[in-house]
Symmetry: C2
Subunit: 418 residues, 2 copies
């Protein structure tokens, strides 16, 4: 299959998924876990698997697997008999872009399809995976499916979490024919996994600036999310004297500005991207504010210092205004070094395409990072001309995407086929 | 009817309304215009009117009137034949208190009922009124019903306004069997009105501090609401460098702190009580923020200066962060002096109860202020021990409320009965 065929195959496969969950007004995608859009995307996944002759399995945590099994159970034994997994996720943030997650799943199918058309058969299992609720866009728990599978997120810490409409993870799972009592670490499945390679659209301008169409992930930076609850006193916006107010928006303002200033000084990033005000009425002094901090830094110690300084500034502002402040860590991921052996193999197949294979760090969380403690993982990045992410502006050229598919196909051919 | 009977009557009447729209979890009231809770409150209004033998009318703008007509059309003529109106409103802010608005309508019924039981009959019409959407809690347009009636709010500026769910004023009116094409100034009805007296729970500690159970409103301070739209660029919270961001929460933080600081310096109040963030996702730099400023000052010129300074600070912060800022005035009410003659009469009847009759200014908007340009209006305040307003903590003792009912009854007896 030549490059032209791969490009056509990529376009057709990607277009099918890109039709699901798109808001025609904004161009943004809404595919939140265990919603109608997610079910439609899973229908697309099943159809792709069927077209490639792959057997679909849904695991206990809602992750999807399309298996390409060796005909005779394979010739290899032991570690060599374990699966080489390609994939990423189908869910998006609210009003997200078309590529984040989707591209990695599409590329997995396109790569397998290209090899099958050439008559190749695997000597060890190959799978295309789609991990559930990677973005945390619905329940605020990023990489939910992969962390439950890996056993690094306890079901007890996840199942009671509620979405904006008050639905718990357990209820959403049940509504989607998953048994929440079965959620959690899945040693039998993990034992079948040899390596996981996640292809992903780059979320910055690293490859654009070089320039290079593909890059190899080296390190996922430490990352955390914290929920700040500010409790003041609701009151009339006209008749309540300033001195009598306990207005939680004032420490909120400090939380916003301090996050930016402290991150700037630390060489980190920090964002207050989600804010909920109660009662959120124009002529009421708010009684409460909930706000979420997302912070990432090159080193764990830097992130720890950033958080401590931010917490202190917010606490001081809350005290000044008679507001109670409570901070809860919703997630914290340490720095993750991706597997050196897998990175070297990825660099080899990229070089085989006549391309440079630069290594990149990333400040975004990924399923590959969430699984790194239980299976060797790597990431392959595809150039993003806008550098934008989590927005309809994120992009990648069809040609670069096809190169990514070709690299995956070469990896599977070299490693898992004869 | 002695004081004990008035107190019992007040308690029974108030309890009926206080049962409608209360959230048992927070104790807060949700009675927004033209919702199920509002319909239930109007059912209560009709039942009270029937119990008092009053004829209910709903005007073209959705305001309710319960008429106590002279038996023979009255003996008076000209201005003396016009109605003395008691009343306030039934709607609340989201999670509001039990007294704001409700108390004035209840007190009107209790006063009329007390006079009727004594066998008194009016020589001119008396009405108990409940004005629609006074709080602007649903559509952001405070004193909607009274301003449409007065002709100071053009239907064209109101009917297209949307609630949080996207429903327009026109659609909500239609859904509630009102014809939006008929909304607007109602000269025939206005011509029937002689005076409007609005009893209201005080929204501060003026009467507590004196102390005095009742007070007479002197002046409603100028007041405005402005909507601030901040448009930046949505992006990934991890991978977007700080320098590449156009984050609208940063000028939002300035809007919050500048409102407080400028108001403090001006002897005014200013509040950013409502904030909506898009897409409001923890791991996204927001693309847009809408925030509302509520500001009130002792003088119009002070309010103008406050707004100009605030606008300049917000614009500078928006520029600094590459964010577009747009400010829209949603409402602006000038200072309103309540009718001196009516105030004197209210002071007389309060003195007749053996009580002091202090005069108070208020920073809250009211239907009495909205109607002041088309009919003489006055306000009677009832002491609020907590001084809180627009929250379940607002309160008034039953005894003080009954004194307010007694003052209204004395006013109607002296002015409209024989």
């Amino acid at each position: 299959m030549g490059d032209g065929a791969l490009l056509r195959d990529f376009r057709a496969c990607f277009a099918g998924l890109a039709a699901i969950g798109r808001d025609p007004e904004t161009g943004g995608y809404h595919r939140l876990a265990w919603t109608d859009e997610d079910r439609a995307a899973r229908g697309w996944f099943a159809a792709q698997a069927a077209a490639c002759g792959l057997a679909v399995e849904r695991d206990r945590n809602g992750n999807l697997w399309a298996w390409w099994h060796p005909r005779d159970g394979g010739e290899a034994a032991g570690a060599e008999a374990k699966a080489l997994v390609l994939g990423s996720h189908l869910d998006t943030v609210p009003r997200g872009g078309a590529y984040d997650g989707a591209l990695g799943v599409v590329a997995g199918f396109v790569a397998v399809s290209a090899l099958r058309r050439r008559g190749l058969v695997p000597v060890r299992p190959v799978a295309v995976a789609a991990f559930a609720e990677e973005e945390g866009g619905r329940f605020g728990l990023a990489t939910l499916g992969s962390r439950l599978l890996a056993g690094t997120l306890a079901p007890a810490d996840a199942l009671g979490r509620r979405d904006a409409g008050g639905v718990t993870v357990a209820e959403a799972m049940r509504g989607d024919r998953l048994d929440p009592d079965q959620a959690g670490s899945d040693p039998d499945l993990l034992d079948r996994l040899g390596e996981v390679v996640e292809l992903h659209v780059e979320q910055g301008r690293g490859l654009v600036d070089l320039p290079a169409p593909l890059g190899v992930g080296r390190r996922v930076q430490p990352h955390g999310r914290w929920r700040l609850e500010l409790r003041g006193e609701a009151n009339h916006a006209g008749t309540t004297r300033l001195g009598d107010r306990r207005d939680p928006t004032l420490p909120l303002a400090t939380a916003i500005t301090a996050a930016r200033e402290l991150a700037g000084r630390a060489g980190a990033v920090a964002t207050v991207g989600r804010i909920l005000v109660e009662p959120n009425s124009t002529n009421s002094v708010p009684g409460g504010v909930r706000a979420w901090l997302d912070a990432r830094a090159p080193e764990d110690a830097v992130l720890d210092r950033l958080l401590a300084a931010w917490r202190a500034e917010v606490a001081a502002a809350a005290d000044e205004h008679g507001v109670e402040a409570e901070l809860t860590c919703e997630s914290r991921s340490p720095a993750v070094e991706l597997d050196p052996g897998l990175r070297a193999r990825l660099a080899e197949v990229i070089a085989g395409l006549g391309l440079p294979a630069p290594e990149l760090d990333t400040a975004a969380g990924h399923d590959a990072a969430a699984l790194a403690g239980v299976v060797p993982t790597a990431m392959l990045f595809v150039r993003n001309p806008t550098g934008a992410s989590h927005t309809p502006a994120e992009s990648a050229s069809d040609e670069d995407c096809a190169l990514g598919c070709a690299a995956l196909a070469a990896l599977v051919e070299a490693w898992a086929c004869r």
